[in-house]
Symmetry: C2
Subunit: 566 residues, 2 copies
C-alpha cells in the first residue's frame, strides 16, 4: 500500500545559489536572441511592420520565454536568503521552468540563424543536471508538495504595508463570508451580481480604490494604490472571479481616463460618484468586427445641437446592464482617417437594469440604447453585453476633456489599460489560489485505492508544480505593482498578465483533474474555476496581442536602443 514519503529532502538553500547563475545565463542568451530578432525585424535602424509580421511566431516565443524567465527570476529573488516553503518553491519552479525555456531558446536561435552552442552548453550543463537530480527529484518535489498540502495550499505570502495588509484581511473575510455563499448560484443560474453583495462593497470603498482621496476615493493622493488594488482584487477573485473579483476593473479604467483627460468639472462630478459605486460603470470599447484593434473602431458620434448622436454597435461590454454610466469610445473625427486619432471618449448615462436584456429609450429624444447579454461558459454575474446605439444623444458635457479631448480618446483609454492588465494578473492569482486550495482539500478527503489521494507521490508532485507556478505569478504580480507605484512597469504589467492568466488556465485544469469526475460537475467549485479561468487569456488584451504588440515589441525596441546588434 501507499507508504509515507521519507523525511522531506526538500531543496537545500544551496540550490538557489546554483540556480541563480543558470537563470542569469539564460537571460543573457535571451538578450542575444532579442538583439538578433530586433535586427531581423528592423529597416534603417527602426522596427518595421513587414518583417515584424513575418517574424510573429519567433516574437511570440520571445515574449513567452521572457515572461517565463522573469517569473522564475523574480520568484528566486523574492525568496532568496529565506528558507521555508517559498524558497523551496522558487527552486522547484526554476528547475521546472529552465529546461523548457531553454528548449524554446534553442528553437529561437535556430529560427534566427544563430549558433546555439551556448544554449546547448547551458541545457546540458552539469550544474543544471545536478539540480534536476537532487532538488528536482521526485522525492524532493514530493516533499515540497506535501508541505504545500500541509499549508492547505495557502502559499506565497506577500509582505504588504499596513494599509494594504488591512484591506487584504478585510476583503478576504468579506470574500469568505459574503461572496463564497453566493458564488455558485450566480454562476450556475447566470444571475446578476446582487445588491446584497454590491452594497457592502460600496461601503467598503471598493469602487474608489483607484481614485485619489482628494477626488472622493481612497487612494492616497499621488499614489497609484496599486498594491492595495491587487490585494483586494486577488482576495475577491479567490471567492469568485465573476461575482466580485472583477468589479474594480471598470471603475479603475474610467477613473484613470477621467484623471488623464477629464475637465475639472467632469472630475468633480463623476469621480466621487464612481468612488461611491453610484452609479456603477462599464467600458464600451470593443466592436463586433474589431477585437483588440482599437484604432479601427467605427462607432460614430455625430455632432448635433448641444452634443452628439451615437450610432453603431459595441460588444463584450461587461456590466453594461447594471451600470448607470458607460465610457464609450467613439469616432468623433472621421476626417482624421481611420486610425486612433479620430477617437474620443463619451460618457453615457443610462438607468441601471437587472437581467440579460434592456432597451433604453431616451425620453422625448428619439435616441435608443439596447443591450443583450451574451451567454458565456463562465465569467457570469456581471454579464457582457452586445450594445446597439441608435441616434443616441450625449450632451456636450459628456465629451471627456471637452473640446480639447476631441481625438484623444485613445490616449485617455490607454491610461486605464495598464491598471486593467495589472488587475487581471491579480484576478488570475485569486483564481489560482482557489483552484489550488480546492485541489488540496479534495485530495485530502478523497480515498483512492485505500489511501487519501493527497498521500500519493504523483499528487504531491502536482501540488509542487502548481504551487510553484502560483508562487511565481503571485510574487511577480506584486512586484510589478511596486514598479507601477514607482511610475514604471507598463510592459511588465502586460507580461505578468500574460503569464498569470495562462498559469490560471493550467492550475484550474489540473485542479479539476485532481477532482476526477466530480471536478466536471457544476456543483463542484473546481469546475467554475476552470471555465472562469478560460476568459483570462482573452480579455484585457488577448495573449497574442500582448505577446506581440506589447511585450515582444518592447523587448525588441529596447534591444535596438541598446544598439548592440549582432
Amino acid at each position: 500500500m501507499v507508504r509515507d514519503l521519507p523525511d522531506p529532502p526538500a531543496p537545500p538553500a544551496a540550490s538557489a545559489a546554483v540556480l541563480a547563475p543558470l537563470l542569469a545565463e539564460a537571460r543573457r542568451l535571451l538578450d542575444q536572441a532579442t538583439r538578433t530578432l530586433a535586427h531581423l525585424c528592423s529597416r534603417e535602424g527602426g522596427l518595421d511592420v513587414a518583417p515584424l509580421d513575418d517574424y510573429q511566431s519567433p516574437s511570440y516565443e520571445l515574449a513567452w520565454t521572457g515572461a517565463e524567465l522573469l517569473a522564475a527570476e523574480n520568484l528566486l529573488l523574492a525568496t532568496r536568503g529565506g528558507s521555508g516553503l517559498d524558497a523551496d518553491l522558487a527552486v522547484v519552479h526554476g528547475i521546472e521552468t529552465l529546461p523548457a525555456a531553454l528548449v524554446r531558446l534553442q528553437g529561437l536561435f535556430a529560427d534566427c540563424g544563430l549558433d546555439a552552442e551556448e544554449v546547448d552548453a547551458l541545457i546540458t550543463s552539469p550544474e543544471l543536471a545536478a539540480l534536476r537530480r537532487h532538488a528536482g527529484s521526485h522525492a524532493s518535489l514530493g516533499a515540497v508538495g506535501h508541505a504545500v498540502a500541509l499549508q492547505g495550499g495557502d502559499i506565497a505570502p506577500i509582505a504588504l504595508e499596513a494599509d494594504a495588509a488591512m484591506a487584504q484581511d478585510a476583503f478576504l473575510r468579506f470574500a469568505r463570508e459574503v461572496v463564497v455563499p453566493l458564488a455558485e448560484d450566480i454562476h450556475r443560474q447566470d444571475l446578476t451580481v446582487p445588491e446584497s453583495l454590491l452594497q457592502p462593497l460600496r461601503e467598503m470603498g471598493v469602487f474608489g480604490l483607484a481614485i485619489p482621496e482628494s477626488h472622493g476615493g481612497s487612494a492616497p493622493d499621488g499614489s497609484e494604490n496599486a498594491l492595495t488594488m491587487i490585494a483586494v482584487t486577488e482576495a475577491l477573485s479567490e471567492a469568485s472571479l465573476a461575482a466580485a473579483g472583477s468589479l474594480i476593473t471598470r471603475p479603475e479604467i474610467l477613473a484613470r481616463a477621467l484623471l488623464a483627460g477629464g475637465t475639472p468639472e467632469q472630475q468633480a462630478r463623476w469621480l466621487p460618484r464612481i468612488a461611491r459605486g453610484e452609479p456603477l460603470c462599464a467600458i464600451a470599447i470593443t466592436e463586433p468586427d474589431h477585437g483588440s484593434d482599437v484604432a479601427s473602431l467605427t462607432l460614430r458620434a455625430t455632432p448635433c445641437q448641444g452634443g452628439w448622436r451615437l450610432d453603431g454597435a459595441k460588444t463584450w461590454c461587461t456590466f453594461a446592464g447594471k451600470a448607470g454610466l458607460l465610457m464609450v469610445v467613439a469616432r468623433t473625427e472621421p476626417e482624421r482617417g481611420a486610425g486612433h486619432k479620430g477617437l474620443s471618449l463619451l460618457l453615457v448615462e443610462k438607468p441601471s437594469y437587472e437581467g440579460h436584456d434592456f432597451v433604453f429609450d431616451q425620453p422625448g429624444d428619439g435616441g435608443r440604447l439596447s443591450g443583450r447579454a451574451i451567454p458565456t461558459i463562465g465569467y457570469r454575474g456581471m454579464h457582457s453585453f452586445d450594445l446597439a446605439f441608435e441616434n443616441f444623444f450625449v450632451p456636450d458635457a459628456g465629451l471627456v476633456g471637452g473640446a480639447a479631448g476631441r481625438g484623444r480618446g485613445f490616449y485617455f483609454t490607454m491610461a486605464g489599460m495598464v491598471g486593467g492588465r495589472m488587475q487581471t494578473a491579480a484576478r488570475a492569482c485569486g483564481v489560482m489560489r482557489a483552484a489550488l486550495k480546492a485541489a488540496v482539500r479534495h485530495a485530502g478527503d478523497r480515498q483512492v485505492f485505500g489511501a487519501p489521494l493527497a498521500s500519493y507521490a504523483l499528487t504531491r508532485v502536482k501540488f509542487a508544480r502548481m504551487a510553484g507556478r502560483l508562487a511565481a505569478s503571485r510574487h511577480l504580480t506584486y512586484a510589478v505593482g511596486r514598479l507601477l507605484e514607482a511610475g514604471q512597469g507598463r510592459m511588465e504589467a502586460s507580461l505578468v498578465k500574460l503569464y498569470a492568466c495562462r498559469s490560471a488556465e493550467i492550475l484550474s485544469r489540473e485542479s479539476l483533474q485532481i477532482h476526477g469526475g466530480m471536478g466536471y460537475a457544476e456543483e463542484t467549485p473546481a469546475s467554475r474555476y476552470f471555465v472562469d479561468a478560460r476568459v483570462l487569456s482573452i480579455f484585457e488584451g488577448a495573449e497574442e496581442t500582448l505577446a506581440l504588440k506589447v511585450i515582444a515589441r518592447s523587448m525588441l525596441e529596447a534591444a535596438l536602443k541598446d544598439g548592440r546588434h549582432v
Copy 2:
C-alpha cells in the same frame, strides 16, 4: 500591412529521413530509462508496490514520453515516402515533439540517477538543430499552416477498407445533416438526446457495431470491427461528442461483457436487442467513493428467492435515465474479501425515462431504483446519473454467466474496457477535427488590423501545430485499431486514449483562443468543443490511472521480461 508569405518552403521529404533516426535514438534512450526505472521499482525480479508508489512521478513522465514518441513515430511511419500535407505535418510534429520529449527524458535520467550524456548528445545534435532551422522554421511552419487552412482543416485522411469507408461516409453525412443542427440546443439546454436522432441511428445499425452478425449485429463474425467503430465514432463526435459521438461506447462495453461471459440464453436474448438499440443501455460501475478503483466497489447484491436484491449507490452512470438496460457491477461474494474476486455483473431492466430525474418502483416488489442527473459543464445530452438501488430485485436470469459468472464480473467488465478506451481516442479525434475546422473557418472570416486573421504568420503556425497533433492522434488511433483487429494493442489503446484526449484539450483550447471573445460565447461551437473536450481525460480511465497502472506498468513489465536490467 500583412504581406503574403513567400512561396511555401514546406519541409522537404528529406527531413523525414533525418527525423527518423533521431526518433529512433530517443526511443532507445527511453528504453534505457525504462529498464532502469523497472529495476528501481522491482524486488526480487518483479515489480513491487512500494517502490512503484514512490516512483509514481517518474513513471508518469515515462508514460507520457512513451506516448508522445509513439505518436510521432507512427505519424512519420504512416506518411513516409509520401508527399503532400500529411508528410509535412509528420515532420513539423516530430520537430515539435522531439525537443520537449528529450527534456522530459533528461529529467527522467536525472531522477533515475542515470548518466544523461547520450540524451544531451541528442538534444544538442547538429541534425536536430538543422531540422529546427529549416523544416521547423517559422516560414516552414507558416507554409504548412497555410496549407492546413487551404484544406479547411480537413487533414490526415486515413485509407480504410471499403466497408469502413462506406460507414464513415454515411455517418459523416448523418452527422452534418442531422446532428449538427441539434447539437447546440442539446448542449445549452441540457436536453436528452432526442428520438429524432436516436431512431435513424438505430436504423443505421449504430448500436450493433460491436456485435457479431451471428448475434444480430453488424460486426463480421470473428472481427473486432474496430476500424469501422473508430470511423463512425469519430464522424459522430465531430458533430457532437455528447449527443452522438458517445452513443456507441455503452452497447460496446455491455456486448463485449456478454460475449465474454454471458450464457447462450443471455447472448441470444440480449445481443440482438442491444444491436437494435431497443433497449438502449448504460453501464453502472463507478461508486461515489471509488473512482477508478473497481476492486473496492461495495454495491451489494444479496441472494434471495429467485434472484438478487441490490442495495447501494452508483454514480456517473451515463444515459441511465434513457436506458432500458443497465449493466451493474455488484458485490455478490463478500466472503471472498474486498477485492475484485467478489464482483459479478447483473442486468437491470427498467423503463426508459426522459429528463434529469427518475424513480422506478418495481411493481409489487418493494424494490426501487432512483436516479438524478449530475449537472456538468459539458458532455450534456446523455446525462450522467447518480443512482440509488434500494432492495432492488434482479432475477437469476440477470446474473451474467449464471452461477459460473459469480465473482467474474471484473473480468467480464474488462472485456469491454479496451474498446471503450479505443472509442474514446476516436471521440477525441472527432472533437479535434471540429475544433480545428472551426478555427480555420473563423480565422478566414475574421478581419484583424485590416486583414483576415488566417493570413497572419502566428495564426498559420498555430494551425500547423494543431494539425500536427491532430494528425498524430488520428493516425495512431487508426493504427491501434488495426492492432486490436489483430488481437493485440491492449496497452496501446490506453496510450492513444491518453494522448488523443490531452491533445483534444489542447486543440480545443487553442481553437477557442483563435476565436477570441466569441470563442467564449455559448453560441459559438468552439466553446462547446472546449468544455466537452475537458471530460475526455477524466472518463474511461483517468489519465493518471492509465499512465501509471496501464502504460508505465506495461512498459516496466516488458523491460523486466527483457531481462536486460542496467
